[in-house]
């Protein structure tokens, strides 16, 4: 049941990404081109999604537990720290270079474009590299 619902949530998310235009790198780069020929459409993607989560999360998180698990698994850190800020800054640069953030890059695998596959492999390598650095840092 849990597996089926995870699959359905993923499908719903994927339909949303493809429908919204987030899997179209030209649209995403046009949206980030604020000082050029700005295409504002994609602001409605984040806007629409956040409207839903802002209202619904409030009620979901008031429940004692989720439907199919013992507890909610939520991030515990509350304070701003250098890894958060540096990581977000670096992520934005990569997003601005190619136009994919992680979700759309994965959904776009459906289009079978070689460069999308290369992007996803490089993304995994980048995660592995940051994971190693994190471990090395923790050992110090």
């Amino acid at each position: 049941m849990k597996a089926l619902l995870a699959l359905l949530c993923g499908i719903l998310f994927g339909v949303g990404l493809a429908l919204s235009g987030m899997t179209d790198t030209a649209k995403v780069l046009g949206f980030l081109d604020l000082f050029g020929n700005w295409v504002p459409d994609l602001i409605f993607v984040m806007g629409g999604a956040v409207c839903v989560t802002l209202v619904a999360f409030h009620f979901v998180l008031k429940r004692q537990r989720p439907l199919l698990a013992d507890a909610f698994t939520l991030p515990s850190r509350k304070h701003l720290d250098p890894p958060l800020l540096a990581g977000a800054a670096i992520f934005g640069v990569g997003w601005g270079i190619y136009g994919y953030c992680p979700g759309p890059a994965l959904s776009a695998l459906y289009y079978l474009d070689t460069n999308t596959v290369i992007f996803v492999i490089a993304m995994l390598a980048g995660m592995a590299l940051a994971g190693r650095l994190g471990k090395a840092g923790a050992a110090d």
Binding site: G10, S20, M46, A49, V60, N115
Partner: protein, 141 residues
């Protein structure tokens, strides 16, 4: 003019609904970078992660098959841009504990200060990067 906004808005509402459903049912945050890293690094209780990620691809397939909308034109960028973009996106989202979905859609939805700040930062550096590539180094690349 309005039809330009209808698909992004509807898509955004679906993304939000998927994030709410995942939190309600499994108690998990729909942060794609975190789910992807959890899946490939072989964390315990992993089936749901792989199935969610498969769903992302199936969802795109479903949308294009049912709507008949053509696949977007592939990026007019050579593979070194895919490598550098991918590396930075992977490195940054792991280091910064999240991406557009985990920080942007879910984190702001939980009123997390960390996520709101992260979202402002990656929007800003994304905009700055496009500005530099298109309008400062413009066209030479």
């Amino acid at each position: 003019m309005m039809e330009n906004y209808l698909a992004p808005l509807t898509g955004g509402l679906l993304i939000g609904a998927a994030a709410v459903a995942l939190l309600y049912c499994l108690g998990r945050i729909a942060g794609i970078s975190g789910i992807l890293w959890g899946a490939v690094s072989g964390q315990a209780d992993n089936a749901w992660r792989w199935l969610f990620l498969c769903g992302l691809v199936l969802g795109a397939a479903l949308y294009h098959q049912l709507s008949g909308a053509p696949a977007p034109t592939p990026a007019a960028l050579d593979w070194p841009w895919a490598v550098s973009g991918g590396l930075l996106v992977g490195f940054g989202t792991k280091l910064g504990s999240g991406c557009t979905s985990g920080h942007g859609v879910c984190g702001i939805g939980r009123l997390s200060t960390r996520s709101l700040v992260a979202t402002l930062v990656f929007m800003a550096t994304g905009i700055l990067t496009v500005y530099l590539l298109r309008h400062v180094l413009g066209g030479s690349l």
